[in-house]
Structure formats: structure tokens, C-alpha cells
Symmetry: C2
Subunit: 431 residues, 2 copies
């Protein structure tokens, strides 16, 4: 007997039924906004992550040398891969480039609730526009995906921040600050003790007083005050954030957004607007998902300067939110028909099953040569709505029996006219 690897999951049909509804809902929302499906490799050269993704991700890479001697890694996230793909065809692709895909990623990290070593994300990205409308469209498609799942503004909020506001504020202090380290400290703010947080800001170059006043600004949320303190760079970033929120209002997503400058996002490549989705009730304590603008990444990959913004919706944390909110789909199989054979009736039963399938129904038949009772038990186990009983004696009268599994009611119908022209005839249709 072999073990499954820790942090990896097998999804059996019942659970998968619910996951499929959720993933399809996310992808359908993206499709309606004109994001187009792509598919991407599971392995990339390790060097692609070394510089771009931040230390946290590099430490967690499933990295190895392939049989051809290449240093390769299981992809820990999609963004570097799509950046590579944009660069590879940058002349041929008309902008904006709007892509969506759902697939697993891999990070060797501590397994905990909602966090696994193999985890699934739906990534939605837009390349080629620096306009606030492009940021707002990402917020809008993420909001549409969540509301399509049955979530409401009572259930979730998007905490929206701006890297250039944080960076500009840091640069406005009379200190030699490592903005990257300071922003990483802000990203950790909610997860660590205040002393440790201030210590990280101090390590990044701020004095204790500067760290305190930086933190006051970050947490006030008063954009006018912040713009006044930070000078031209911060003013411009505040204007950009406001323009994104205005566009989000037109796009129907403003109501889900709160300004929260202490939301920083951990990845190094972000620029401009960043955001994270949180459970409004706080029951799901960690960020559900996040996204933001990464205008410099394509150029750093050797491409033409190409602004970009995107979001990655993780299925596992999203399932925690959906379960908390009571909108996680039923984990149950659905079957339209079971066509049951009694005696040597396989020929007729197979014809009926094929006709019902041709009309799009989910239809099972006996493949185990089982008794009436065993077939009925199986039909019940797969939640068959209707059982069509094809018995030798009924057939002598030119009939089959149609049984509604919910009520137990049944009736006979002429075999030659079943299912006939009706796509999905049920007991209620017949009687």
C-alpha cells in the first residue's frame, strides 16, 4: 500500500463535484469579461524564480536537476510564466492581453488549514494597459466571481492599497530605507507582534519615531493627510488609487473595496495598486486571495515595457470562505437515469440508454451483472432521479417501467416510444 504525499490531496467525486462548480463559476465570470483561457507548463527553469519572486518562494521551490542537466522547478505561481509567455510573443499579441487559467501550483511549505503543498489557483491577468480601468476590471471580475458563487458584500471585502503610496511615504522620511524590506514588514503587520513589526521597520532603516509615524499614516486611511505628508510621488499615487476606485464604482465593484494601506502583498514584483480579499466576519482569518499591479515584471524578463495587473484566486482558501458563508456547493453526485435490466434485456436497455445520452443526460447501466436489488441500491447511491426498469416480462407486453426515485412512484410506458422525442422524460411528464 502506497501513501499519498503530505500536503497533496486526492479529490474523490463528491468533493470534486463542488470544486468543479466553484472553478467553473470563476472561469465563467472571467470568460464573460473577455479573459481567454491559456494552459501553461508545470515545470520552468529555476532561474526564472530566483530573482523575481522573493526569497519566501525560492526557499519553498520543488527544485531539481532534470535528466538533461537543467535546473528546473515545479511552478510555485503563475505570474513569471505568463510574463515569459508575453515576452515570447510580444509582437504578435494585441493588447490588452487578457488571460485566465486554473491549475495546480507547488510550494514546499508547512501544511495547515486551507494551505497545501499542491494548491489550485484560478489566475486572471491583464497586460498592456496602465489605465486605472484595467485595475478596476480585475477588481470587478474578482467581485463578479465571488457574487456568482452566492457571496455578498456582507461576506467579503477587498482591502485595497498602493505600493507607490507605501514606497513614497518611506522615501519621504529622512532615512536610508530599504523599501522592499519595509513593505515586507507591512505585509506581515497583522500576523506578528507589534514589537517585531517595528523591529523589522527599524531593520529596514527607519528610526523608532519614524516607524511609529509611518505606521500612523499607513493605518489612518486618510488619503488627503497622506498625500499632504508624502509630497508629489505620494500625491500621484493617491490620485491613481482614487481613479481605480472611481472606475471600480462604474464597474460595480466599489462597494466591496476598502482602502487599507497596511495591505502590502508579500511578492516583490508588485507595483501600484495591490489588494487582498478578506472574510468580512473574520472567521477565515487569513487573506482569501490577492492581486495587484506588476508593471515592471515584463521588462525585467527582457520584454518591452508592458504594464500588467492580475489576481490569483486560490481554491482552498476560497472554499473556506464559501463554507463559512454557507454557499459551498453540494458534495453529491447527480444522475439523470439508471437503466435497470432484469433478465436478458441488455439490447433494449442499451438502446434506451443511448437515446437518453444523445439528449445530454447522465445515464448509467448495469456493468456488473447484478440483481434487481443490487442495481436499485447502486441507482440510489448515485442519486439517480429516474430508474427505467427494462424487464423481460414487461418487454413481452412491449413496455418498460419508469420509476421516480424521490417519490417511489412508477408507471409503465410503451418501449418503442421511450424516450421518444422528449429529451428527459420523467415520471411526472408521463403521468
Amino acid at each position: 500500500m502506497y501513501d499519498r504525499l503530505k500536503g497533496f490531496r486526492d479529490f474523490y467525486p463528491e468533493e470534486m463535484t463542488a470544486r468543479r462548480v466553484v472553478i467553473d463559476t470563476l472561469e465563467d465570470a472571467a470568460a464573460r469579461y473577455g479573459f481567454r483561457e491559456i494552459a501553461t507548463p508545470a515545470l520552468e527553469r529555476t532561474e526564472m524564480y530566483a530573482d523575481k519572486s522573493g526569497d519566501g518562494i525560492v526557499e519553498e521551490l520543488y527544485a531539481f536537476k532534470d535528466q538533461g542537466g537543467r535546473e528546473v522547478s515545479l511552478t510555485p505561481e503563475l505570474t513569471p510564466t505568463v510574463a515569459r509567455m508575453v515576452v515570447a510573443k510580444q509582437q504578435a499579441l494585441s493588447k490588452p492581453i487578457k488571460w485566465v487559467s486554473t491549475r495546480p501550483f507547488w510550494r514546499f511549505e508547512q501544511v495547515q488549514q486551507g494551505r497545501f503543498r499542491e494548491f489550485y489557483q484560478t489566475n486572471i491577468d491583464s497586460f498592456g494597459s496602465a489605465e486605472p480601468t484595467a485595475d478596476a476590471e480585475i477588481l470587478a471580475v474578482a467581485a463578479a466571481a465571488l457574487t456568482d458563487l452566492g457571496l455578498t458584500g456582507e461576506d467579503f471585502e477587498f482591502r485595497v492599497s498602493h505600493r507607490d503610496i507605501l514606497g513614497g511615504l518611506l522615501r519621504s522620511f529622512d532615512a536610508d530605507v530599504d523599501s522592499r524590506d519595509a513593505i515586507r514588514a507591512v505585509d506581515k503587520r497583522a500576523k506578528i507582534e507589534r514589537a517585531e513589526y517595528l523591529g523589522l521597520l527599524s531593520d529596514a532603516g527607519l528610526s523608532y519615531d519614524q516607524a511609529e509615524s509611518f505606521d500612523d499614516l499607513v493605518t489612518t486611511g486618510d488619503l488627503d493627510e497622506i498625500a499632504a505628508f508624502g509630497g508629489a510621488e505620494v500625491e500621484s499615487a493617491v490620485a491613481n488609487l482614487r481613479a481605480v476606485l472611481d472606475a471600480a464604482a462604474d464597474f460595480g465593484a466599489r462597494e466591496y473595496c476598502t482602502v487599507s494601506l497596511s495591505t502590502a502583498r508579500g511578492l516583490d514584483y508588485y507595483t501600484g495598486v495591490v489588494f487582498e480579499c478578506f472574510d468580512s466576519t473574520g472567521d477565515v482569518s487569513r487573506s482569501v486571495f490577492g492581486g495587484g499591479r506588476y508593471d515592471d515584471l515584463i521588462e525585467s524578463f527582457g520584454g518591452q515595457p508592458t504594464p500588467a495587473v492580475g489576481v490569483a484566486l486560490g481554491t482552498a482558501p476560497l472554499s473556506l470562505l464559501c463554507q463559512r458563508a454557507g454557499v459551498w456547493p453540494d458534495e453529491a453526485l447527480a444522475t439523470d437515469y439508471y437503466v435497470l435490466t432484469v433478465g436478458d434485456t441488455r439490447g433494449v436497455a442499451s438502446r434506451i440508454a443511448r437515446d437518453l445520452r444523445a439528449a445530454g443526460n447522465v445515464v448509467e447501466v448495469d456493468v456488473s451483472d447484478r440483481s434487481f436489488g443490487a442495481q436499485m441500491g447502486y441507482a440510489d447511491g448515485i442519486n439517480a432521479e429516474t430508474v427505467v426498469i427494462v424487464g423481460e416480462r414487461d418487454l413481452e407486453n412491449g413496455e418498460v417501467t419508469v420509476k421516480d426515485m424521490d417519490s417511489g412512484d412508477q408507471t409503465t410506458v410503451p418501449v418503442e416510444s421511450f424516450p421518444g422525442d422528449a429529451a428527459s422524460p420523467t415520471y411526472d411528464d408521463i403521468t
Copy 2:
């Protein structure tokens, strides 16, 4: 600039559109036969493949040691994983267990036409029935998937064989034969010179004369002659093969099947019926996909004895067949609406876009602050069927313009009633 790894592919939206149609068609066919979707890990313990899959696969494993010191491999095929999953929940799962999934697999092999290091398969498996109907259902669902794609009996054939016929014939010779090696030789028969093939049979323990007469039997296809030659074991296997073909007739798949005992399948774990799909015209020279029965695998994984049969449809070889037959789907984007803004009309345009999306349409809007002409060019590039022009001047008259992109015809409609109750109003609906 970073390179993609050799043998790995990026799928951009146009190509992905066609692949999505094909994969959805395969999965829909499986769903209508009651196969239920599962999802499975990309990594498994390497030991799981060492004994079960045959040397060919083990040599091609992407195997490495993870950060926890475990010997792990990227999954080269699905069968061992589903066997592991069946064993893990064998008490809880009601039989037959019928599963389907589509995902990539990985083998470090020579890249050639239709063969890549990362390749996608739709796996369809049935566990728990040793009956010929279970084999026939796998043939039927594979045939339904292909005919749903638009292929016909002129395009493909299933070459059906039986491991116990081959094994029984080998055992009927007065020789100490390694059946596994001999069956591997049969699997290679069409790909190697006759002298090499006979040499492999000789290595497996047959004399030259025995190898010649074995090959005569394998290629005759006369099941009566084979049964007479081989004794009780072969007779029983021939009866089983005939029962599978009879059930396939009831299930509508017999017409696609030819008996071809020289079709052996390379993997060691097969027992009973095996089959491979071939291009009837021979233009696609290699096997398109294959499957068969593997009744001993679950037990060898430490589970209760559980018969099993399945098929794995590879997207890449299937695409070669579809392209050869002229049924590969269009590689083109589809867009229902582009809502074009002229001047400061984003609020109204956004409301229209949201209403159209709520009705299920694919709708794009400007996110790049572009001119009328640039927006029109983009709308054309994404194959928008209808462009809704929301212009400042039109809005002063309470109107928007609806333009059919195919004909170029356009008309104006009152903005407050667009789209109104119509789900997808087009120029033709309006005029």
C-alpha cells in the same frame, strides 16, 4: 529572457479554444456514461512506479528527492494513482467506481510529432466489475467521445486484443517462455524489423519455429483456430473477448472494433482485453490512444482483489487524428459584444456591459483609454459579433449605436431599453 523547457508547451488562447472544445467533448461523453470527475496529485512516491509500470516508464521518470528527503516523481501516468486511491477508500466506495479526469503527465522522452515531455490525457477508468459489459462500456465511451468530436467509423478503428490469449498461446508451447518479455515483443512488432521481433521472441524463450507459428496464430485473427490450438485457457479468453464484442454491439461500439491480437500494449499491468485506437487511413501512423483491463493492479497495491478496465485519451495524438480528419475545432476567439466608449461615457457603457454579462454574454470594454479607431480594431481582433457604441453625442439623444461587425450594418436604439429583457440583442433582432 527566459526559455520554455524543451518538450513543454505554452497554449495561447486561440489554440486553447480548440483544445478546450476537444477536452470538454471527451469529458462530457464520459459524464453522460456516469464517469465522475476526480482530481489527483502531480507528485507521487517514486517506489509506486518502480514495480508496476514497466522499465520504459521508470527510465523516463522526472524523479527527485524533495526537501523532506522523500523520493518523489512527477506522475508519468494516472493508473497507479487511481489504484492507490481505490485502495485508500475501498470500504467506502460503492462499485462500480467510475472515474474521469483530464490533466498533464510528464515523461522525459524524445520529443517528436504528437509526443511531448508534458502531455495531457483524459483518463476514464472503471473499477469493481470483471464482466465483459465493463470492458464494452470503456470501448463505448471512447467511441462516443470520438464520434462527438465529429469522427466517424471511416476515421478510426479500435484494434482489440486479449492478454490471456497471448499468454495462453505462449504457455501452450513446450518451452520455458517469459510471457512478459514475449508480450512486450508483440507490442513492438509493428515498429521493428521482423528479424529483431523474432529475436525478441527467441530471447523470451521460444524456438525459431515456435516463434514463427506463434506469430502466424497472432496474425491470423481466426479465433476458432486460436481456441483450438491453445487449449482451455485460450478458449476461455477467446470466449471473454467475444462476450466483450457482443456487449460492445449492444452499446453501439462494435462497428469500430477489429480483432487484432498483435495489439499488445506495452504496460506490464494489463490483463484481459486490451485495445488501441488507430487512424483508419494510416496517416497518423502511431497508436492514437489505448486502454484495457488491469485486474491485478489493485491487489498488488495492497487492496482487495478488484477488477479494473480503463482508457487514456491523449490530447496531442488525438489532435493529429482530428486535424487529419478535418474536425479539429476552429482556433479562433469568440466575443459576443464589445461596448465602445467615445468621450466620457464609461458609466453608461459599464451598465450596459454588466447587463449583457448578466445574461451570460462575453463582453469586453475599453480598459486602455483608446480612440474610437483603436477600440474598433481591438473589437475586430477579438471577433466581436456586435459592437455597442456609447458616444457622448448619441447619449444626448438618449441613444446608443448597435453595429453588426460581420455586415457593418448599424442602427441606434434607446439607451434605457438596451439590452432590456433580450438576453443577447443583435442588429438583426433590433431592425
